[in-house]
Amino acid sequence: MWRPCGTFDENYRKDVAIIRTPLRWGLLVAALVGLFLVPYVCSYYVVSFLNTLSITVIVVLGLQMVTGFCGQVSFGQAAFMAVGAYASAVFCANFGLSFWVAVPLSGFFTGIYGLVGGAPSMRIKGFYLAVATIAIHFVTMWLVLHLEITGKSQGIIVEPPRIGSFVFDTDERMFYIIVPLMLLMTYGARNLARTRVGRAFVAVRDNDLAAQVMGINLYYYKLLAFFISCFYAGVAGALWAHLTRVCHPEQFSLLHALWYIGMLIVGGIGSIPGVFFGVIVIRVLDELVLLVSPFLSSWFPWLGSAPAAGLGLSAFGVVLAVFLIKEPRGLAHRWEIIKASMRLYPFAH
């Protein structure tokens, strides 16, 4: 962990602390105050973008747990998100539960469902497990499309959260639910990564045979990784459902699962800051295409609006290819190098 030059840990508490210096505490408080003010000072578009970004961060944090830390490749994250979204919608609409109970319950329900997704990891790994999780995606989406309780092809209308008579029915209001929850779940993930469980995940990822020899129960930890990952996806799905106020089978496609994997690659596998880097780069790139394409089509009329607007997917492909070739360890690795250089500042070496 990076500390300014000349700062030393003097006791165990300091050594394990996530926030280590008064300056960092100050920056954290300032950042939190800044975040609180965002809906007051930023446009509706920025707020809604931050909501989507935060939900994506939660999903990708879950994926980081199972794929980045534990080494179990999963293409089922979009489907698990759908499970969480539908679970929350059903808990609220059919069982009359409040949003505040439905969201954690949906996460837990998705976690249990994810154990099914994780079950094949007992026998298979790598590419084969990836294919198995794709199968889980399709089975899940088939169930969503055909079960009576999910509203079949018509989906479910979801009510916005409320406290008493105060309804969280705008993006600005939802911001105060989504962003704190994202921060809380980031803290949870960061914390988990440095516990025995987190270290066991890394051991399983790096060499499962060696991990087993050291006494790590492979199957238990692999399933645990899937449970945690799905819990995150479930919570994200529930938030998404209450934000958009509709659950629809076509909201959660396999393409989303691919995007999430892409975000991990760009950000850096096995790193919590990497999740933020990956999500921000891909989502911002996407928004830039949205903003820039009208200019492109007006300056180059022969291109037309449609091909210009369709640049998004190509941009994603190019970014992914460049990162795989030039920086396979992702932006998080680059961030670590920058921090290491700064640690010795003002000394050159």
Binding site: P249, S253, L290
Partner: protein, 408 residues
């Protein structure tokens, strides 16, 4: 190399983006103008239809603007590739939702329409969408481009009964839907089934498959065993082409008549697979084949803005032009009522409801929007693929109201 490379890349991208953003807007966007937001799938499973349609919208609006706009007001076209991805569509929608210059929008896929509907409920913001019957059943701000899916299916039921009689067959014909396993794939039967049963046509259980499927043998074989006479194929082409290719190979096209819904193959698709599509009937609410490619307005726009021969025109282009003609007419009506400075979403919404009977130069049937109707039109035409060409076999036929037969 690594660190320097990253640094330079980031700097270049930043400078490029900032440069683009700081440059002035093009001339067309200055002066009095309103905007039309097109949330379309330029890539993804329905791109084959959405792309030509959106190009049609854009070209027509370009043409209107080149002549000074609608009574001096230019209509700025904003195209966004939503990629059949609802998260993307949501983000794009929100980025423009509060821009009051955007007076109307279109959403070129069923899932996006269904997702955005709750978010715009209660607003008087015109959203043009595909033909889901629920937008007619629950009158609001969503306006299907043409007849609803179930109304087009009901018109097909009428055509089936006539065809059955013409062939001298007795008893009741049977029809089955073979379509995508998605909300869209089921939509035509919500009311369409009730209509068919009322008219004495037996509706067999549907065969639904995931969008993107390449082989359909199992579904086709099951339908054959069930004794189906007519198969109504849903999906956006090349789905219909793939289905017909399999049906031809299985030898089913001799005894079973295949009918495509209005997102079926274009002339370009037919020219690539003439043998497979031979004999297929297509129900359409916009002109197809030579009728579209030789239509004077479409031909002129295509030559002016695409600079290609008319044979290269996908008929979805005409559908887009028709949509844009409705938009321009509604904006014109709103300007007449309140003047160019007071034009707003509300006013355009009011005008859309007065477009009843608007002619789109015969590219689409007369407009049927009214305070009680959200149908873009209530007529369809039947075409047949013969010798690699698509030719009309009926004139415009009025579609029955199947939406009201369903319990919503």
């Amino acid at each position: 190399m690594g660190r320097r490379w990253i640094g330079w890349s980031v700097a270049l991208i930043t400078v490029g983006v900032l440069g683009l953003a700081l440059l002035p807007l093009p001339a067309g966007a200055q002066g009095k103008e309103v905007a039309f937001l097109d949330l379309s799938d330029f890539t993804g499973p329905v791109a084959g239809l959405a792309l030509p349609s959106s190009i049609g919208v854009e070209d027509y609006l370009k043409d209107v603007n080149s002549k000074g706009g609608v009574q001096g007001v230019k209509i700025n076209y904003i195209g966004v590739d939503t990629r059949y991805d609802v998260a993307r569509a949501l983000s794009a929608f929100k980025s423009y939702a509060r821009d009051q210059k955007v007076v109307a929008m279109e959403i070129v896929s069923t899932p996006l329409g269904k997702m955005l509907q709750p978010l715009t409920r209660g607003e008087k913001f015109v959203c043009m969408v595909p033909g889901d019957g629920e937008f007619q059943a629950h009158i609001g701000n969503f306006f299907p481009w043409g007849p609803t899916y179930q109304d087009a299916f009901a018109a097909t039921v009428d055509w089936i009964l006539e065809d059955w009689k013409k062939k001298g067959k007795t008893g009741e014909p049977s029809v089955a839907v073979l379509s995508w396993d998605s909300p869209y794939g089921r939509e035509m039967l919500r009311g369409g089934k009730e209509y068919a049963e009322k008219k004495g046509v037996k509706v067999l259980p549907s065969e639904l498959f995931p969008p993107g499927s390449l082989k359909h043998d199992i579904y086709l074989t099951r339908l054959e065993k069930a004794g189906v006479n007519y198969v109504y194929v849903g999906g956006v082409d090349p789905t219909q082409t793939n289905v017909m290719r399999d049906a031809t190979r299985l030898g089913l096209t001799k005894d079973i008549q295949f009918i495509s819904d209005y997102w079926g193959p274009s002339s370009l698709g037919i020219s690539l697979h003439p043998e497979a599509l031979e004999g297929m009937v297509i129900v359409s609410y916009f002109l197809r084949g030579n009728e579209a490619q030789n239509h004077p307005l479409l031909k002129r726009l295509w030559a002016t803005y695409r600079k290609e021969p008319p044979e290269k025109m996908n008929e979805g282009y005409g559908m887009g032009v028709g949509t844009a003609m409705t938009l321009a007419a509604a904006i014109g009506d709103a300007i007449k009522r309140v003047g160019p400075d007071k034009i707003s979403r509300d006013e355009v919404y009011q005008s859309y409801q007065k477009m009843t009977g608007l002619s789109r130069d015969g590219i689409l049937g007369p407009c049927a929007y009214s305070p009680t109707s959200r149908r873009g039109s209530d007529v369809v035409k039947f075409y047949k693929v013969t010798g690699g060409k698509i030719s009309p076999i009926t004139d415009w036929v009025k579609t029955p109201d199947a939406v009201s037969l369903h319990k919503w």
